[in-house]
Symmetry: C2
């Protein structure tokens, strides 16, 4: 039986306001916001001032409040709020991907220990119900991979660059104006934001907890004119792809830009839209597409979590119980296109399997199978750009004992 | 707490066999098939013969069986099995869209009356978890429309006709060989199969029960050379689209072929894939893509229902409680392209708003806003083809009192 729930809200930015509006318009969910904790009490607000407080105890110490909805920017403060709320017997709904990604194992333990729910559908791809579907619908499918466009602002930028021939800088400014980009654009363009989401998705797809710093992210900030020319000549676009897949007892996962062919399911995902492709032994290929950011799409996901709490829902992290234990690994060979200034000492001998290359003017472009770690190192060098090949091949690399001996 | 469930299965065709394989490979779901009721005991089976019986009482009368999974072709016999099973205290999982569509209100009442679940995720778009998401995830969103490609075999045929320039007849034969087409191809090509699915989707999107015969379906069986030429000249494809939407307190729904522009989300849905586009006030536009038919995709949906029963899941038909009562209506003006032999007496005066037209050789083609009922009548005439316009306009038609007076 559903009971009426009382919410204490932390943060009143676009998502918080979206939630407030959504809650006041829908008749289906029995929940109301009693108090809103904000940082700056001097700001003019659209709601009665008695709703607002700057003292978090007004929420945490109020026994009539069942749910803490945490929607603040600061990921460190957010985790404190989550911990405090759960230990004081409140359920939590949050969309803070960075906080979740960095503390997911503890978030899991907190729920077990205190018997309270921490739900976070809004943290991964906004309105796309991916966590819920991984938990509930694909709970018995033997999932083999998850991949997609997990960041709306970089996808918006790439769409503008490819379709409207906008410059990269102009497209970024426009994305920020529209509110798609994070306050710190590096989180988007360097691939941290999709990485946080990938870490969360990996837990619910494969039952593996991995720390964000273990997961390699290569951004779109260094995409070069050479890449754009290569894309144009081969009728390709570029998307920033987050992916994870299972091979044997290992799980691989990383974020990197990739050349995408015209018929690929991700090719048609434009502007601020996100997409998630799930592949399982039985359901085969599934695609979910929806808005990844914005006040209403994320507000809608948060609302859906609140609604789920009215019937006592909690994540069960079912995949943890189903597999033989899986371990996360970066020992992978990846087919990539690397373009760079000629003077940079990257050669075909750096590739495990060299496929093709060309040089023109001061630029060189090499394509082949290369270790993920090496790609990460290269992508950090000035004047080097790394983009995965279209339909890239991935190969688990076996670290030979012989090569260890050689080093010794 | 999950308990181990015992299943009695009716039917052992492709989906039944898929389910059996899926159940024996996955470790997550605590359920086993105890008995399989078949029609023909002389057929050679891949499993031990003691599993099979031709006597339905062996399942219905066995108190150790918790769930009846009904996967037979005959929709009348299927409904009898469902009723018997529920009245004898068993939950039911079925994928029989026709049986469901024709009896949905009674299926709803049976569940209320006997406190048993009847789940049917596999009935609508195979592996796409659309019912579950409409029930659980979008339970509080104010949904405004649902549309998509609900039939894999016609989509396969249309893909082959458009991309590989196959003839319509060849493409149909190929679809049947691959097992995508229903035994009676008229159910697919005349749009009955997607209509049954639409009827089920309408109940879970808008909380409205409608009889299949009330819903207009126009098939792809009469698509003409003129249509194909029109599509080619305007860089369009044709898809068979099922759609329903809400305007005020009315719900409209119908199935019809439609010209689709290159950038439309349905344009990239190829071969046997299905797609569902959901639009809500808060989640905005969501797309779900997956295989709509086949042994494993449907088996996976059935399995997910079985798994949901291990924690006592039932549909709540929540949208019935949220809206002001909605009524189903066909009083709609639809923008369509009608092509026909010149001697057929269709004129621009038949259109509420005429937009464009041309005549060539013995053919005529007219485009404009016309009543849905008239389109249905025309589509039944030999030599007439009806295809909705790209990005078709829809307008609720107000039946004027004056026109009633004129008739009188």
């Amino acid at each position: 039986m559903k009971k009426k729930l009382t919410i204490g809200l932390f943060g009143f930015g676009v998502v918080g306001q979206g939630l407030y509006n959504v809650l006041s318009q829908t008749q289906g969910v029995k929940a109301e916001i009693k108090r809103i904790v904000i940082k700056d009490k001097t700001k003019t607000r659209s709601l009665p001032s008695e709703l607002f407080t700057t003292n978090k105890e007004d929420v945490l110490n109020d026994p009539s409040i069942d749910i803490v909805v945490e929607l603040i920017n600061d990921h460190v403060a957010a985790f404190d709020i989550v911990k405090e709320a759960v230990t004081r017997g409140k359920h939590v709904v949050t969309a803070n991907k960075r906080m979740l990604a960095e503390n997911l194992e503890e978030i899991y333990s907190l729920q077990q220990q205190y018997g309270k729910s921490i739900l976070y559908e809004g943290s991964v791809c906004g309105s796309i119900p991916i966590i819920r579907n991984l938990e509930e619908y694909y709970d018995n499918d033997l999932l083999t991979s998850i991949e997609g466009i997990f960041n709306g602002s970089t996808n918006y930028i790439l769409t503008k660059v490819f379709e409207e021939k906008k410059s990269y800088a102009d497209a970024l400014v426009k994305a920020q104006e529209l509110g798609f980009a994070e306050t710190d654009p590096a989180l988007d363009v360097e691939g941290y934001d999709p990485k946080f989401k990938l870490v969360i998705a990996i837990a619910h797809t494969f039952g593996v907890f991995v720390q964000p710093h273990q997961v390699i992210n290569i951004g779109i900030d260094k995409i070069s004119e050479t890449d754009l020319k290569y894309a144009k000549e081969n009728n390709l676009s570029i998307k920033l792809v987050a992916r994870a897949f299972k091979q044997g007892t290992k799980v691989f996962g990383f974020v990197a830009p990739q050349f995408i062919e015209q018929h690929h399911p991700l090719a048609s995902i434009r502007n601020e839209y996100n997409a998630v492709l799930v592949e399982g032994a039985f359901a085969e290929k599934q695609t979910f597409v929806g808005k990844g950011a914005g006040s209403y799409p994320t507000g809608s996901a948060v609302l859906s979590d609140v609604s789920a709490l009215t019937y006592g829902y909690c994540y069960e992290y079912k995949k943890r119980l189903q597999h033989e234990p899986l371990t996360f690994s970066n020992d992978l060979l990846v087919e990539a296109v690397v373009s760079f200034e000629k003077e940079i000492p990257i050669t075909i001998h750096d590739f495990e399997k060299f496929k093709s290359g060309y040089a023109a003017n001061s630029k060189q472009l090499l394509c082949g199978l290369v270790s993920l770690e090496k790609l990460k190192t290269w992508s950090a060098l000035p004047g080097v750009s790394v983009v995965l090949a279209p339909n890239a091949e991935f190969k688990v690399s076996v670290r030979e004992k012989t090569s260890v001996l050689e080093v010794a």
